[in-house]
Amino acid sequence: MRMKQVYIAGLGVLAASAIAVYAAPSGGTISGKVTYQGTPAKAKPIDMSKEPSCAKQHATPVTTETVVTGPNNSLENVVVYVSAGAPDESAPSEAVKFDQKGCQYIPHVLAFQVNQTLEIANDDQTSHNIHPLPRINREWNKSQPPGTPPMTDKYDKPEFIPVKCNIHPWMHGNFAVMKNSHYAVTQGEGSFTLPNLPPGKYTITAWHESYGDQTQEVTISGSETKSVNFVFKAKPY
């Protein structure tokens, strides 16, 4: 009896994933690169000497992450998302993970959806306090001593929320709470892809924690791939 249930459930999962895989290419894609012009502020080394258990995890000192650049003037940690044109979506069931390791936030910018479960874990041998600073969502501020289970939380309104640890003032991160599933955070090459967009007119916004945001209008028809690039102005100070 039990075996049979598992078998049927397994078949169901297989079928569902098959549908998901084959349904994916329908709709258009927006992809592109985020770059900067000018001289960005120098990344400064972070002195973690007050927290030896973290300092010894980094052979060379880590640097500040408010502006992270890649090759060819590419800009990392930019959230590119559909800010208008797409309907609001309910949250996927899987949780997103936000880690504290070596007194740094991993990832530095974490994008997830409204009401999606956010799981925060402390991998360090020291207590961190997680203090997200929302303006419209509910605010909280809690410590997570080493050895305690991961914390979970949800945000019910879209917002960019700075996150800080007061115990280690250099630790700063960002939550990007999105109202739909069409978002990406730029990585190494500054590139992003927003797939699965049904035909329509969209407003695409690129948000950077220091440089603010930019928007572009894009119209998608059929299953085309459109290229959209953003260029931010960098300042040395």
Partner: protein
């Protein structure tokens, strides 16, 4: 049972005094020019307090031993001299010892607080904030740029709220997480609180001073031994109070110069 009380109390008194007498728990080696006066005052007071402590406890134990549940009838007697003797003793003991010690001891306090730093003292600014200390050296121009609280951006390493875009003086200010100082040079520490009350305490320096938000105080001291020492916060400042610390790094002059140069290049 009175005798038991006397015995237990005597043991408690002697055991309590033992770690003090054998110097089991003592302050760390003094590395400041002013600390010896504080240490002397502490040890003089310890001698006197120890005398008072042992004297009173042992006398109490002795009297309870001798005068509890007496078998020689209930006839009570009174101490010759009575209350007058006690009052006189209190005035003599306390008046000449404690008060005198206390009054003379004010010199140690005055050494720290009633003197001005020398004009050539090296100025360093320390900012206390939840929950770390940061230090600022004026850089090549010898000037501290003004602070703009609205510019504070800790994720970007701007702990003080400098505005290098608009203040040219801010561009060479050196901000560090440790307080490196040259040995045998007077340091004039300018204290600034970013958020709530904190305190600056270095055991080895025999220095403790609160940071008061809105009131920029200063301290001055000279360190006489090289090495790394902990700077800790002693004023309850919130959840991370226990972990609010930094290191004082006393260096030889040439090492200090090298260190400062290196830090300047990181800015």
């Amino acid at each position: 049972m009175g005798k038991l009380f006397a015995v237990v109390l005597t043991i408690i008194a002697l055991v309590s005094a033992y770690p003090i007498v054998v110097h089991k728990y003592v302050q760390p080696v003094d590395i400041s020019t002013h600390g010896h006066a504080i240490d002397e005052q502490l040890s003089d007071t310890m001698a006197e307090a120890g005398f008072a402590f042992l004297g009173a406890q042992l006398l109490l134990a002795f009297f309870v031993w001798k005068f509890s549940n007496r078998k020689d009838g209930s006839k009570v007697t009174h101490l010759p001299g009575g209350a007058k003797l006690m009052v006189a003793t209190a005035f003599i003991l306390v008046g000449t010892e404690v008060l005198a010690l206390g009054v003379l001891g004010q010199k140690a306090w005055a050494d720290v607080y009633f003197t001005a730093p020398k004009p050539d003292a090296m100025q360093v600014q320390v900012q206390a904030g939840q929950f770390a200390f940061y230090f600022r050296y004026p850089g090549a121009d010898g000037k501290f740029a003004p602070l703009h609280p609205d510019k504070i951006d800790e994720g970007n390493g701007n702990y003080f709220g400098l505005d290098p875009a608009n203040d040219v003086e801010a561009r060479d200010d050196i901000v560090t997480a440790e307080l490196a100082i040259p040995i045998n040079r007077e340091i004039h520490l300018l204290m600034h609180a970013k958020d709530v009350g904190h305190s600056f305490y270095v055991r080895e320096l025999r220095i403790q001073q609160d940071f008061v938000p809105g009131l920029d105080l200063s301290l001055h001291f000279t360190a006489t031994k090289t090495g790394k020492y902990e700077i800790v916060c002693t004023q309850l400042c919130g959840l991370g109070h226990y972990n609010m610390k930094a290191y004082l790094n006393v260096l030889a002059q040439e090492d200090f110069d090298k260190w400062l140069k290196e830090k300047a290049s990181e800015q």
